[in-house]
Structure formats: structure tokens, C-alpha cells
Point group: C2
Chain length 379, copies 2
């Protein structure tokens, strides 16, 4: 009878309507029936991403989508700016190195995100950089940069702007064409409310030209093959059929609620969690200027043993938060407010967190976080 509530920032909670679809028999992918699904998914993703460009589906996790961006855009020896303000920014640097290109690493203090001024300065110092790789929602620290402002300072240049939007897509606003983002990478298992297994890459005309001239090795993630297949409403290799079919429904659910309205709601949930943390005498890790609406990392004093708190919540109470990653390992707990998570889930999560914090000896008034969150939800 124990709950199984995923409040982790990926995989995130899969709503029962999508579970039902995932539990249905699949169809073959090389059929007009599946082509109809692919077409609808493509059209829906274009709306969520804010682009009229191609959107490619991969059978992979989000990292596969990131690898597709790096291996298709760069050639060995190319210079690229990678921006690090958490674990996933570091992944861009690793990928650029793995593909024998040259990363110029722009390190930003964890808890903050990069600014347009910092990108402008980095590009002025590295006018030969082919690309800027950054993270729209840095899941390890719960920050988000002002992508619109960054796009604006890059619009006149030759470098492409590539966003890891794995945990941002659907939750944070994205206007790829309007803001001048060239490549958006994402996955099925965060804001899109599904299990992992589908990688997503949207590619601007500017990026497609760069892909055509890349000399890097690639096959499974070769976006030239994806482009060719998409022209026939197909994928180059067997897609993750079951998840793609459910993705069609997930997109319809998000769009039918109204994406702007839904994203306002994610922000409201985020504000509620920030207020709740404060009410328990805890600090939100992210700098207030850069806080993401997709998840919140809450600093837990080491004396309270944050790892044990996550473990007890999950194993005793069935409510799963994430712990810290990289330099935040053992220092924070992270709660998602993305995808299908709603305010009642957040209250459930906070209630359980209060219970376990109290047991761990933390001093605060029971119910304080619930009351604080409830005030924000109903403001």
C-alpha cells in the first residue's frame, strides 16, 4: 500500500493516462499508422520547442541527443565554448573532448547560471569558436540562464547556440526560432512525463549547414540520416515505438492545457517549494536570479545526513526525491516540479520531508512548509 511517487527530476512522474498507453500492444514502425504518429509528434514538438525547423527522434537517453549535437556539429580540432555550472555542463565538455574538438571551458560558480554578458565576452575572446554548448536547466543545481538574452547576443555571429534542454523542455519556456537557439536537445523522461528512451534534437537551418560540413565520425546518431528519413516521415533506425506512441499523447495533454498556463503553474510550484524550504529554516541552493521552475535543490545541513533523508523517504515512505550530484553529493535534496507533478504531489513530498527531517533532529514547526506552500499555491 506504500506510495510510489517520483519527485525526482527525471525520470519524473508518469501520469496514469500515459501508463495506460505504454501498456497497450505496439504497432510496427514502418507503417502508415506509425507515420501518422510520427507526424503528430513532430508537429507537437515543434510547438513546444517553438520552431519551424526539423525535430529528430532518437532511440536513446538525453545524453544520446547531446552526443548527436556534438558529433554532428563539430569536426576534430574545432573550437567550441562549453559552459559549466553543474554536472550536465561538464558533460558538454567531456563530449567535445571525446569528439577531438577543443573545448574552451567557461566555468560559472555553481548555483548561478551563465549571463548573456559572459557569453558575449567569451565569444569576443574566441571569435573562432564554432558553437556554444550550455544547459537550459542544470538539473544538478536547479538553475536556468536567460536563454533569450544569450540568443540575442549571438544572433549576429557565426557560432551556433546549443541548449541541453533535457530537463527544461515543456517546463521552462523555449522559443527556439524567436530567441535564436540553433540546437535544442531533450528527452522523453522529464517535462514530457514518460519513461526514458526517446532522445529529441531540433536543428536550425544554420546548424544543418554546419552538420553537412562536419567530418566527425557518426552513424547511429548521424543527423544527416535523420534528416533524410524525416523527409519520408521515418526514422533511420528502429525507434522506441512504445514511448513515441505515448509521447504523442503526452504532447497533446501538455498543449491542451495551454503551455503558457502550464509553465506559469510550474513556476508557482517552484515558488511554493522555495517558500516551504524557508519555512523549514532551509536554504534553496540556487541563486534567486537563476532559479529554474523545473526543480529545486534544497541545502540540507550535513549533520542531518541528506543521503539518509533521501533513502528513508524512498525506502520507508515510497516518496522519491533526488540527492546531490558532483560537488553537491551529500549536501542537497532535489525535488522536481515538472511534467505531471501537481501541487498535491508537492504537499505530499513536503509532508514526508518534514517527517523525516524531524526524525533526523532538525528543529522547525511541523506543518510550516505545508502552510507556506499552500499560501503560494492559492495566491
Amino acid at each position: 500500500m506504500k506510495r510510489n511517487l517520483l519527485l525526482t527530476p527525471g525520470p519524473s512522474k508518469v501520469p496514469v493516462e500515459l501508463c495506460e498507453i505504454l501498456g497497450k500492444p505496439i504497432i510496427h514502425h514502418r507503417t502508415p499508422q506509425f507515420q501518422q504518429v510520427l507526424k503528430e509528434v513532430n508537429d507537437g514538438l515543434k510547438k513546444i520547442i517553438g520552431t519551424s525547423s526539423d525535430v529528430y527522434l532518437l532511440a536513446s537517453s538525453g545524453t544520446g541527443a547531446m552526443e548527436a549535437a556534438v558529433s554532428n556539429l563539430l569536426s576534430p580540432g574545432d573550437k567550441a565554448i562549453t559552459v559549466e555550472y553543474g554536472k550536465f555542463g561538464e558533460r558538454w565538455t567531456e563530449l567535445v573532448k571525446a569528439y577531438k574538438a577543443v573545448p574552451v571551458v567557461l566555468k560559472i560558480q555553481w548555483g548561478k547560471a551563465v549571463t548573456a554578458e559572459e557569453i558575449k565576452a567569451a565569444l569576443a575572446q574566441n571569435p573562432d569558436a564554432k558553437a556554444v554548448f550550455l544547459t537550459q536547466c542544470e538539473t544538478s543545481t536547479s538553475v536556468t540562464p536567460d536563454l533569450q538574452a544569450i540568443g540575442a547576443v549571438m544572433k549576429s555571429g557565426t557560432a551556433v547556440l546549443v541548449a541541453d534542454s533535457v530537463s527544461a523542455l515543456g517546463t521552462e519556456p523555449m522559443a527556439m526560432d524567436g530567441w535564436g537557439v540553433d540546437v535544442v536537445c531533450s528527452g522523453s523522461h522529464k517535462g514530457l512525463m514518460l519513461p526514458p528512451g526517446v532522445g529529441i534534437v531540433a536543428v536550425s537551418a544554420k546548424a544543418i549547414a554546419m552538420i553537412a560540413s562536419s567530418t566527425n565520425v557518426r552513424y547511429y546518431f548521424d543527423l544527416r540520416k535523420s534528416k533524410k528519413a524525416l523527409a519520408d516521415i521515418d526514422t533511420p533506425f528502429t525507434p522506441a515505438i512504445g514511448i513515441v506512441i505515448a509521447l504523442n499523447e503526452a504532447i497533446k495533454m501538455l498543449l491542451s492545457e495551454g503551455l503558457d498556463k502550464k509553465q506559469e503553474y510550474y513556476l508557482k510550484m517552484a515558488r511554493a517549494v522555495w517558500a516551504a524550504a524557508e519555512a523549514m529554516g532551509l536554504k534553496v541552493y540556487a541563486d534567486p536570479k537563476f532559479r529554474s521552475r523545473a526543480l529545486t535543490a534544497i541545502v540540507i545541513p550535513e549533520a542531518l545526513n541528506p543521503k539518509k533523508i533521501v533513502k528513508t523517504m524512498r525506502d520507508v515512505h515510497g516518496i522519491t526525491f533526488a540527492g546531490g550530484q558532483g560537488e553537491l553529493d551529500g549536501k542537497v535534496v532535489r525535488i522536481a516540479h515538472m511534467g505531471a507533478v501537481d501541487e498535491y504531489d508537492i504537499l505530499t513530498g513536503l509532508s514526508c520531508l518534514e517527517k523525516v527531517l524531524k526524525e533526523a533532529g532538525h528543529k522547525f514547526e511541523l506543518g510550516a512548509s505545508l502552510a507556506a506552500a499552500q499560501k503560494v499555491f492559492n495566491s
Copy 2:
């Protein structure tokens, strides 16, 4: 009320027990609960593959598993023998070229598979070849080579033997350690009865040594990362959680029936289909010496329009066969007898094929294929 019966050789029929599991909420992958699943899946796959070596899971289709083999084993400039007797053999050659290694292409007439003697001769001519890449079940033509005999002629050499077992695993016998196969590549959506989304790579000690010395670029499919993660019962990147959980159950289903017995049954279904084809006055495409027990390609006279037959069966009757690929495009229909397919499914497929062939003007006695198959099933 129309059926949705997948008799395609991947994706194959997903049994209702596995649909149910796919329709359940997932759990987070970095938890002891999921580690238990990973451990059981790993142990089960070792039994099915016949190995005590590492088995790695990827979030990818089968082609991702094939790419992992090529990109991890070879370095640029390395020579490798690729054996082509169908579309998937050609994929090995494409992958070896994509990774800037040098394929020595051993072309075998379609309809046949490679023999141990042919492999021996190719290796004698190319003693510097690092690897032999071949296809255990060539899904485009429905043939299978004698892998045991091939393993025997390669055992004393330095080259590794790599098998694309995507459509073979679970259905065709495999004794990786016993036969001397070094790398087995597979996927979730053929004999393992699930939707596509999980790639599988098993790697011998000899192959692991070669992987350690490869200088090829790789990141997402870097099996060194997989090896490191597996030591902690983990995957380097987010796995396709939902499919992995269901895979655990699929493996248990296969093993509890007894794999040998189940594989005898696949062979019986194959024989039934061969007899059924003959009873309709049609030819099985594959040479009798090399016929696979996983699927059968049946030659359809072009006057009967094989493409239209597949389309009518699927769109009017809800029963999906595959058409031909590559040089067999528009020449054959293919029916799977792998995974969860049983004799009643085969009779259903044959019945529908008879109906549609009759409408197309083919002359034969209605019911002849059913009677022929029924005799084999009950022999």
C-alpha cells in the same frame, strides 16, 4: 474489433503479461530497487547468451549495440572482415567504414549464410584482420550460419568474432563462451518480446582487452564506461527504465519455459511455415541448409504484388507481416516465429495470407497451408 497481430520479425508480438508491466509506473534508476532489477536482468541475459562475461545494457535500438561493438573494438585504419548476406550484414560494413576502419567485405549469395570454411579462408587471406562481423540471424533473408563451427575455426586466432544477434537472441541457440563468440549484440524487440529501446552487448575477456586499446571516438556507447558502471550495478547514462523492468520479466518467462524446449518449439513453427508455403505452391527464400528458426521469408510471385499483400493483410485485417528489404523489396513476405509468437498466431497469419493470396488470384487449395502447418505442429 480488428486484430492487431504483429508477425513481423521485430518489433515482435508483446505478450499481454509484459504489456501489463510496461503499463505500470516506473521507479528511479539510481535506487537499490532498480539495482536489483539490473542484477537479475544481467544474470538472466548471461544464461540466454551462454556466457559468464559482462553484459551491458544501452538505451538504444539494436543498431546502437552494433555501433558499440564497432566503435569500441576497432581503431581507425584497422582491418576487419564484414560478412554480407543481407541488409544487416551490409550495416556492419557501413559501420566499419563510418568508424574509419577498413572493411574486407565477404559477400555471400543472398539466401545462403557464411560457412566456417569461408571464414577460415578469409582469415587466412587477411591474417591482420582484427575482427569478423557477421549476422546470426539475417532478418532480411531469414538465414543463420553455423556459429559453433565458425567459432571453432576462429578460436586459435587473434581476431574477435562479433555476432549481430539482434533477431536471433532467445530464439536461435547461442553458447557464447562454448562456441568462442566474443561479442553478442542484441535488442529488446525481437526474441525478447518487448518494444524496441534496449540494446544489449555481451563482451568476452578477449574483446575487453581489445576495447581497452581502441583509439576510436565514443562516448554514449563507450563500453569502458559501461564496464565501470556495471561494477557498481549501474549504467553510465539513464537506462530505458520501463523496458528494462519488463525485460526482467520477459527473461523469467523464457527461462521458466526452458530455453532449449522453447527453441525446439521455434524450430517446429519454422518447419510448419516452410511446409505451409510449399502447400500454397510458394517457395521459402532461404537455402534449406541455412534456414533460421526466427522467421521465414516466403517468395511471392511479382504478379501477385507482394507489397499489396502485406498492406491488405495489415490495413484490412490487422495482421502484420513484413515485406522485403534491399534486393528482396517487393519480392517476399516475412513472417516471424520468435519470442511470444505461438502456433495459433502462425495459423492466424497463414489463414489471412491464404485469404489475401486467393483474392490476388493465386491458385491453390484453401486451407492447404493450415493443414500442412497443423501436421507439423502436432507431429
